[in-house]
């Protein structure tokens, strides 16, 4: 307080500025939630939003600037009960204090949301939402469990979706309340009962609604039951924009019940039919190739058999025989030739040793007539001698 400020008369501006300072320096007034009903709503082209918040006894001028107004998630209307967050400011030209709102939500949403956040962080810290503990959803489930209301569009949408995609599946429905105070125990019992049925997957679903309508799926007991389910779970609660704690606890979160039914039937009838067609064509190709291979093999065998047939063997023996005969003949001929030339040589040599041959060159053979001895020494030449020359013989007598 500055007491001296009031010692003299103030202008309106000075006083208003002072009030503005007071309000704007109050930290609590600069970060405040206020609830009330909307009236005098005005949305000029500027994009800013003006309205008055009222309750039974008081009213408060409010403004929301264009940038914050663009982020509004709800469509404001006169008479709507809301909670607005912002700071108190003073509009000096009109001498009015007002709430400059930066955030608006439907009434009740705030408290619930705080509770949601508290539970979420608590269960998160416990590890209920751990990504590593999420299980795979079977590609081709035989038995699908559904927890939802027995009446209502959500069940119908899911059944139609599964019927269209995978009619060979079997469905076990565990009907359950899905809103109100009795819903959480009913949902838990349904999940536990379905866990006794040896199913491949359990869908936990509910159609769209307000945050209060979906609240059972944020119930701590329900969230724990979903997290503890032995059977893998898919959640499909509300619309795309709705997130419940059940979504975080489930193994897989789907945006809607229909989407949950789709995620539960990842393999469809069409896929199965294609798979069978594929197997069939593989079978036929295989057997075709096999038969073709066997045929080729048979052909190879046939030609090998022919090659090794006795007929062929006999032909081959004949050939060997012919070859041997040819070789024998040629060897024989060769030897005859050899003998012939030997005989010739010997006969020539014999010829040269024939004494007659020498006589023709002027030599003579002298023998004693008395005893026929060939005279090769003077002492031997006694008595009558015979002289043989090339064309006959005559007798001589040694005279000395």
């Amino acid at each position: 307080m500055q007491p001296n400020l009031f010692s003299s008369t103030l202008t309106v501006s000075q006083l208003t500025f002072h009030i503005r300072k007071l309000l704007e320096n109050d930290a609590q007034l600069q970060d405040v939630w206020v609830s009330g009903e909307i009236s005098n709503l005005s949305k000029p082209n500027s994009g800013h939003i003006y309205f008055t918040l009222k309750d039974k006894n008081a009213s408060l001028r409010c403004v929301m600037w264009r940038t914050d107004a663009a982020r509004l998630r709800i469509n404001l209307q006169d008479g709507m009960a809301i909670e607005a967050h912002g700071k108190i400011a003073v509009y000096e030209p009109q001498g009015q204090y007002q709430l400059v709102a930066n955030q608006i939500q439907a009434k009740g949403e705030g408290a619930l949301y705080q509770e949601f956040l508290r539970l979420k962080s608590m269960l998160e810290a416990e590890g209920l939402f751990n990504p590593e503990s999420k299980r795979e959803i079977p590609q081709l489930p035989k038995n699908i469990g559904i927890v939802t209301s027995q009446t209502g569009a959500a069940l119908r949408d899911m059944l139609n979706t599964i019927r269209r995609r995978l009619p060979i599946a079997k469905i076990i429905l565990a009907p359950s309340l899905v809103q109100g105070v009795d819903a959480p125990p009913a949902i838990i019992k349904a999940i536990e009962s379905l866990n006794q049925q040896s199913l491949d997957v359990i869908i936990i679903a509910r159609g769209g609604g307000s945050i209060e309508d979906l609240w059972a799926f944020n119930d701590e007991r329900v969230v724990r039951a979903v997290a503890n389910s032995k059977t893998p779970t898919i959640s499909g609660v509300g619309h795309e924009t709705d997130f419940t704690l059940t979504d975080f606890a489930a193994d897989l979160r789907a945006a809607t019940p229909t989407a949950a039914a789709e995620l539960a039937t990842q393999t469809t009838l069409d896929d199965l039919q294609l798979r069978i067609t594929d197997y069939e064509s593989r079978l036929i190709t295989l057997i075709f190739n096999l038969v073709a291979d066997q045929k080729n093999f048979l052909l190879t065998l046939t030609s090998r058999l022919k090659y090794n047939s006795p007929e062929r063997k006999i032909e081959s023996e004949y050939q060997t025989l012919d070859e041997l005969a040819r070789r024998a003949f040629s060897a024989l001929t060769h030897r005859i030739e050899l003998h012939k030339s030997n005989v010739d040589g010997i006969s020539k040599r014999l010829q040269s040793l024939n004494p007659e041959g020498v006589l023709s060159r002027g030599y003579a053979i002298i023998t004693r007539k008395s005893d026929g001895l060939v005279v090769s020494k003077i002492s031997q030449a006694k008595g009558d001698l015979k002289v043989r020359v090339s064309d006959g013989e005559f007798e001589v007598k040694r005279n000395s």
Partner: protein
């Protein structure tokens, strides 16, 4: 390779899943092994029968819906729209 077991069930008695699984293993066996022709032909014939069986099962499939009532399962009547 799946040996032709003497305990092999007739195709008509198989569930869809069993038929599909056997079909798969037959195709794989034919693809990976050198089977004697006679055996391969037997596998092929069995495979053809399984294809037929699975196809028929899919053709005639009708979503079966049951409802838990206490601990027992009862047929679930869908609301007519």
């Amino acid at each position: 390779m799946p040996k032709q077991k003497s305990t092999q069930k007739p195709v008509e008695e198989l569930t869809y899943e069993e038929a599909m699984a056997e079909l798969e293993s037959i195709v794989e066996a034919l693809e990976s092994d050198q089977n004697p022709l006679e055996e391969a032909m037997k596998l092929f014939e069995r495979g053809q029968a399984l294809v037929k069986k699975c196809g028929a099962a899919l053709e005639s499939a009708q979503l079966k819906i049951q409802k838990l009532a206490g601990d027992s399962l009862i047929p679930f009547e869908e609301e007519s729209e």
